[in-house]
C-alpha cells in the first residue's frame, strides 16, 4: 500500500469545497480535480505533457456523486495514477463510481442521517430543549459528516482501482439500512410534537382552521406530486390568508 502523504490532509480540506464550482457542464468535476491535485504532486511534472498534468486534467473531468463520498473517487483515482493504471481505466473507474456513490450517499445522508437528526432536533425543541438541541444537532451531525469524508478519502486511497470493495463496507451497507427506519420513526414522532409546539399560542378557531388546512395541503401535495411543491403551497396559503384577512376578517 502506498504511504499516505502529508498532502492527504490538504486533499481532505479541499473536499469540503468539492461543490464550490458546481455547474451543469462538469457537475462536481472541478471540485474533484482540485481535491485530487495535492495527491498527484508526487507524479513526474516536467513539461506540458507530464503525467502530473495529464492526471490533473483527467481529475477535473465530469463527475457527479454525493459530495460526502466524492473522496472515495478522489482517493481511488489518485492512487490509480500513482500505480500507473492506464488513463482509460481511470476514466472508466470515475464514471463507474458516479452512480453508486450518488445512490448510497443520498440514501445514507440526505434520506437518512440528516432527516433523522433534524427530526430529533425538532422533537427536542418542541419538548422545550431550545437552542441546546440545535447545538447538539450541529455537533452530532458533523461528527458523522467529517468522519464519512475522511473515511471515504482514506478508503479510496487504500484500494485504488479495486475501490468497489469499499462500497460493501458495513458503514455504508448497514448504515443505510438502519438510517431509513430510524429517520422514519424520528420524523414521524416529531411531526405531532412540532404541530403542538407551533399551535400553542393559537386560539380554538385557529387550531380548527390549522388542522383543516394542514390536511388539505398534505392531500394536495400528495395528489399533485411535482406540480405542487411545499413552496407553492405555502405561497398560495399565505396569499389566500392575506386576502381573506384584509377583505373579510
Amino acid at each position: 500500500m502506498a504511504e499516505v502523504t502529508p498532502r492527504f490532509g490538504r486533499a481532505l480540506l479541499r473536499l469540503f469545497a468539492v461543490q464550490g464550482s458546481y455547474n451543469y457542464e462538469r457537475m462536481l468535476g472541478l471540485g474533484v480535480g482540485c481535491a485530487e491535485e495535492p495527491l498527484l504532486r508526487g507524479l513526474p511534472a516536467d513539461g506540458e505533457t507530464s503525467p502530473y498534468r495529464a492526471a490533473v486534467a483527467r481529475g477535473a473531468h465530469f463527475f457527479n456523486a454525493h459530495p460526502y463520498l466524492a473522496g472515495l473517487a478522489v482517493g481511488a483515482a489518485a492512487r490509480a495514477e500513482h500505480d500507473g493504471a492506464p488513463p482509460e481505466l481511470i476514466e472508466r473507474l470515475r464514471a463507474a463510481l458516479c452512480g453508486p456513490l450518488g445512490s448510497i450517499g443520498d440514501r445514507l445522508i440526505w434520506a437518512g442521517w440528516l432527516p433523522l437528526l433534524s427530526g430529533l432536533t425538532l422533537a427536542a425543541i418542541s419538548l422545550g430543549a431550545g437552542w441546546t438541541a440545535v447545538v447538539g444537532f450541529l455537533v452530532v451531525y458533523n461528527i458523522g459528516h467529517v468522519a464519512l469524508r475522511w473515511w471515504a478519502l482514506s478508503e479510496g486511497w487504500k484500494h485504488g482501482v479495486r475501490v468497489a470493495s469499499a462500497l460493501h463496507h458495513p458503514i455504508l451497507q448497514r448504515g443505510a439500512a438502519l438510517a431509513g427506519p430510524a429517520m422514519a420513526c424520528a420524523v414521524g414522532a416529531a411531526l405531532p410534537l412540532t404541530a403542538q409546539y407551533l399551535a400553542a399560542p393559537l386560539g380554538a378557531w385557529a387550531r380548527v382552521v390549522l388542522s383543516a388546512a394542514a390536511v388539505a395541503g398534505f392531500l394536495a401535495i400528495r395528489w399533485l406530486p411535482g406540480r405542487l411543491t411545499g413552496l407553492r403551497l405555502a405561497l398560495g396559503f399565505a396569499g389566500a390568508a392575506l386576502v381573506v384577512g384584509w377583505v373579510w376578517l
Binding site: 464550490g20 464550482s21 458546481y22 455547474n23 451543469y24 457542464e25 457537475m27 472541478l30 482540485c34 491535485e37 502530473y52 498534468r53 492526471a55 490533473v56 477535473a60 457527479n64 460526502y68 443520498d106 440526505w110 434520506a111 433534524s118 431550545g130 437552542w131 440545535v134 444537532f137 450541529l138 451531525y141 458533523n142 459528516h145 427506519p181 422514519a184 420524523v187 414521524g188 411531526l191 405531532p192 410534537l193 412540532t194 403542538q196 399551535a199 386560539g203 385557529a206 390549522l210 388546512a213 394542514a214 388539505a216 395541503g217 406530486p225 411543491t229 411545499g230 413552496l231 403551497l233 405555502a234 405561497l235 396559503f237 399565505a238 390568508a241 392575506l242 384577512g245 384584509w246 376578517l249
Partner: protein
C-alpha cells in the same frame, strides 16, 4: 433593526448561503440552525426557533439529489426571523414566513443562474483545463466559491431589505384575526409539506411501519404533555 444587527445578519446569511452547496456543508444552512442564530443575533431566541421550525418542515419537501432545482431556505429563514422580530406576535410569524418564502424562491432562482454562469465559464476554459494546469483549475474553482458568496450576500440583502420595508406597510392593515390567519396559513403549509416530504422519503416499504410507530408515539406524547 440596528445597522450592527443588519450587518451581522447579512454576514450570517452569507455564510449560511455558502454552506448550502459550496463550503463546507456543515448544515448551518438548515433553517433550524440559521433561524436560531439569527434569533440570537437579534436577542430573540424564541422567534428564531419558531421560524426555524417552520422552514425546517418546509425543507423536508426537498431532496437535493443531482442537479434538481429547489428553493434556498437558509438565507430565507434569516430574513424571516428579521421580519418577525420587526412585527411581533402572530403577525410576526406569518409575515416572516411570507418574506422568507419570497427570499427562498429568489435564492433558488439565483442558484440555478449561477450554475449556468459557472457552466459557461468552465466551457470557455475547457482548453486550458485540458492542459492540466493546476493554477487554472484552482482559479476556476475559487472563482465559483466567490461567486456563490456574492450570490448568497445578495439574496440575504434582498431578504433583509424586505424585512425592513414590508412590516410597516402591513402592520395595522390586517385585523388581529387576519394576522392570526396568516400565521395559521404558514404553519399549515409547513406541516403539510413536512408530512408529504417525509412520506416521499419513507415510501411504501417497511419504513412506513416505522413512520407510523413514530407518529403514534408523537401523538401520545403530544397529548400527554398538553
Amino acid at each position: 433593526m440596528t445597522v450592527e444587527s443588519f450587518l451581522a445578519l447579512l454576514g450570517w446569511g452569507t455564510l449560511v448561503g455558502i454552506d448550502l452547496v459550496s463550503l463546507p456543508q456543515m448544515m448551518i444552512a438548515r433553517p433550524i440552525v440559521a433561524g436560531t442564530v439569527a434569533g440570537a443575533i437579534l436577542g430573540d431566541f424564541e422567534t428564531g426557533l419558531k421560524l426555524g421550525v417552520v422552514f425546517e418542515l418546509l425543507q423536508y419537501d426537498i431532496l437535493p439529489v443531482g442537479a434538481v432545482r429547489y428553493p434556498e431556505y437558509g438565507p430565507a429563514t434569516v430574513a424571516a426571523v428579521a421580519t418577525a422580530h420587526a412585527a411581533v406576535g402572530a403577525l410576526g410569524l406569518g409575515l416572516g414566513a411570507v418574506v422568507g418564502l419570497v427570499t427562498g424562491l429568489v435564492g433558488g432562482i439565483t442558484m440555478h443562474l449561477m450554475r449556468r454562469i459557472n457552466s459557461r465559464i468552465v466551457n470557455g476554459a475547457s482548453v486550458a483545463l485540458e492542459s492540466g494546469d493546476p493554477q487554472v483549475l484552482l482559479r476556476l474553482h475559487v472563482g465559483g466559491i466567490l461567486r456563490d458568496g456574492a450570490r448568497a450576500a445578495l439574496v440575504t440583502a434582498l431578504g433583509l431589505a424586505l424585512a425592513w420595508t414590508v412590516p410597516p406597510h402591513i402592520i395595522g392593515v390586517l385585523t388581529p384575526r387576519g394576522e392570526m390567519l396568516l400565521a395559521v396559513a404558514a404553519i399549515a403549509a409547513a406541516l403539510a409539506a413536512g408530512a408529504a416530504g417525509t412520506l416521499r422519503l419513507v415510501g411504501r416499504g417497511p419504513n412506513l411501519a416505522w413512520f407510523a410507530a413514530g407518529l403514534g408515539g408523537g401523538i401520545v406524547a403530544a397529548t400527554w404533555l398538553r
